[in-house]
């Protein structure tokens, strides 16, 4: 097939009367576009109230279930168990919530919404950064719900407000880094249902084979070896330290190193997947 044309390659330039468009977006535009995307991600909650249930009722159920059903058996008393377990519950809940990033992305890819975004003159990363910003808000909401419910049930924060803020910070930092796994999952699965299946297949063992809900010493030796290094364990311990006292530094550093490792491995993979699979 040849196009019957003798005209050689014409230098690229505006053929239409519109003024020449800029080549790329400015950082201010990027921020504004990301915030718009975050707004969109949060408005979705308004129209899908069941998501609020996920964000609130589910953590509450977990706290009630573990404290009153397993607490006595694991720790002798529900009260003492809550003091031990809330840090773990917060860590577990945070990891489960990262699934939102993956399901949201998969839905956008499946429905063609992502194509629409990519056809707009906006920053390529804005759909992603906006979604992640929205998911950070979800994380914080869920964290506040867990803390309030915990306190109502008798959880005592014995450290300072600064330590509590540090706990928020650590949680957000780790989940942001961990979100790259969700981005990769969302892009590869392209289907929110599959995301749920694959996601929880990984997240259940990761969160439950940790000391989030039961002390490491009660487990068989082969499991203890993994539990001791599991990022969920390290983050749960760091959160315990920041909320009720105990060693913080080593656990916080280990958590952040895990975060760096997740970002270093899954960040490039996710970017690659976004470039080639979308």
């Amino acid at each position: 097939m040849t196009l019957d044309r003798t005209a050689p390659a014409r230098p690229a330039g505006p053929a239409l009367d519109a003024p020449a468009a800029p080549r790329r977006v400015t950082p201010a535009q990027w921020a504004s576009q990301s915030l718009t995307m975050a707004w969109r991600s949060l408005v979705q909650i308004k129209h899908n109230p069941s998501e609020l249930l996920d964000l609130s009722i589910q953590p509450i159920m977990f706290v009630l279930l573990f404290t009153f059903v397993f607490g006595g058996a694991i720790y002798g008393s529900a009260d003492a168990y809550l003091q031990f377990a809330l840090g773990g519950l917060i860590a577990q809940n945070a990891l489960f919530l990262t699934i939102y990033t993956a399901t949201g992305l998969a839905t956008d890819l499946q429905k063609g919404t992502f194509d629409r975004f990519r056809s707009l003159p906006i920053a390529r990363s804005a759909p992603l950064s906006g979604r992640i910003m929205g998911d950070v808000v979800r994380q914080l909401w869920s964290l506040v719900v867990l803390l309030v419910v915990g306190v109502v049930l008798g959880f005592r924060i014995t450290t300072s407000p600064v330590a509590v803020l540090a706990a928020f910070g650590l949680l957000v930092a780790f989940t942001l880094a961990f979100s790259w796994t969700s981005v990769l999952l969302g892009v590869l699965a392209r289907d929110p249902e599959k995301v749920q299946i694959y996601g929880f297949t990984v997240l259940f063992p990761l969160t439950f084979a940790s000391n989030a809900f039961a002390p490491t010493e009660t487990m068989p030796g082969w499991l203890q070896a993994w539990v001791a290094i599991n990022p969920v364990t390290r983050m749960a311990d760091a959160l315990r330290g920041l909320l009720v006292g105990g060693p913080v530094a080593a656990n916080a550093v280990a958590t952040l190193l895990w975060g760096v490792a997740f970002a270093a491995v899954f960040g490039p993979l996710a970017v690659w997947a976004l470039r080639t699979r979308v």
């Binding site: 019957d4 014409r10 800029p22 906006i122």
Partner: protein, 351 residues
């Protein structure tokens, strides 16, 4: 303009559209869309095998082809969503690979699958796009209201798009692609799944946009649609352009009409086929006990009737109708268009 097929599909392997001048230089204005030798492979599948096309500013270019022809792939390349493996494309004068951001500031895209966010209301969907394009909150609301009104969605404006019918969703999708007042609009099978009334409305909408000077590239599986809207048509099949021309050129090429005959006695099908072939000078297709043959002029029908009467064949059915896309394909490519896939059929049924 010459298109050559090398896959050995019989007599029509070379198609010359000698009556057509190259559409790209009409009036000396550079084309709004211009693609040359686009190749895109997905693993073992070659979705585009060197497709070239061009659209004159302020006109509609219809890209006509069956399922899997490469329409969506071509649209995605031109809309900067997909980098071609070979070839190059200019949209609004900008290279889609080298300057995608500039291309994006000129185009609007309505993809084959509605790109609206189903969790958001109609208004929110449009405000989202307007805000992303840098408009103020107030201006975004105004633009959203204006478009919702234009597309007859004002009443549904506050409802989540999830609750919209297929046709409403498509209209919202089209509205979303117009928020930034694009100069060049890509519509990938915009009427698939629409009822005839909505389809006509959309056609009117496209005509009025073109009246405002917008260039539209529209893909379709329906000759009828291309006929209604397009100034120029590119027929693609298996990733290659098999014909280019105005709707009239293509219809002339395919045989404007088709004569369809069903013998009262099925055993006489072969006789009907032979007679049709002889008198029309073309190969008839036989399907479901009925013979169809291109009828280039009105003399064929009486001739066939007389001859069949002479040989004692009685017809249960005799119709002279417009050529279908399938038959245009047969005429242009020597093979039949691929049957629609199941989910495509579903889409149409849910219309």
């Amino acid at each position: 303009m010459v298109s050559t097929r090398t896959d050995g599909h019989g007599r029509d392997s070379e198609i010359s559209m000698t009556t057509v001048g190259p559409p790209c230089h009409r009036g000396g204005v550079p084309p709004a869309i211009e693609a040359e030798g686009l190749v895109k492979r997905f693993g073992a599948t070659t979705a585009l095998a060197g497709a070239s096309l061009s659209a004159v500013e302020g006109t509609v270019l219809g890209v006509l082809g069956p399922n899997g022809a490469g329409k969506t792939t071509a649209t995605r390349v031109l809309a900067t969503l997909l980098a071609p493996d070979e070839g190059r494309a200019l949209v609004g004068g900008y290279d889609v690979v080298a300057e995608p951001h500039r291309v994006r500031s000129l185009i609007g895209l309505t993809g084959q699958y509605a790109g609206v966010d189903e969790a958001l209301t109609g208004t929110e969907n449009l405000v989202l796009i307007a805000r992303l394009l840098g408009q103020s909150r107030a201006a975004s609301r105004r633009r959203a209201a204006e478009l919702l009104d234009q597309f007859g969605l004002t009443e549904a404006a506050g409802r989540a798009a999830r609750t919209y019918s297929g046709g409403m969703r498509r209209r919202l999708d089209l509205a979303a692609s117009l928020v930034g007042r694009p100069r060049i609009l890509f519509l990938d099978e915009p009427t698939t799944g629409l009822d005839p009334a909505s389809r006509n409305e959309l056609w009117d909408m496209v005509r009025s946009l073109v009246g405002d000077g917008v260039t539209v590239l529209l893909t379709t599986q329906y000759l009828d649609e291309a006929d209604q809207l397009a100034d120029d048509i590119v027929v693609i099949d298996r990733g290659t352009v098999v014909a280019t021309g105005t709707p009239d050129d293509l219809k002339a090429r395919a045989g404007a009409a088709v004569l369809q005959m069903r013998p009262a006695q099925p055993e006489q099908l072969a006789v009907v086929e032979r007679v049709a072939s002889e008198l029309a000078g073309a190969t008839p297709t036989v399907e479901n006990g009925s013979v169809a043959v291109p009828a280039p002029d009105e003399s064929l029908m009486p001739a066939v009737v007389r001859r069949l009467d002479d040989v004692g064949v009685r017809l249960a059915e005799l119709t002279l109708r417009r050529a279908t896309l399938d038959e245009v394909f047969l005429a242009l490519t020597g093979h039949r268009a691929v049957e629609p896939t199941d989910d495509q059929t579903d889409l149409r049924e849910t219309a």
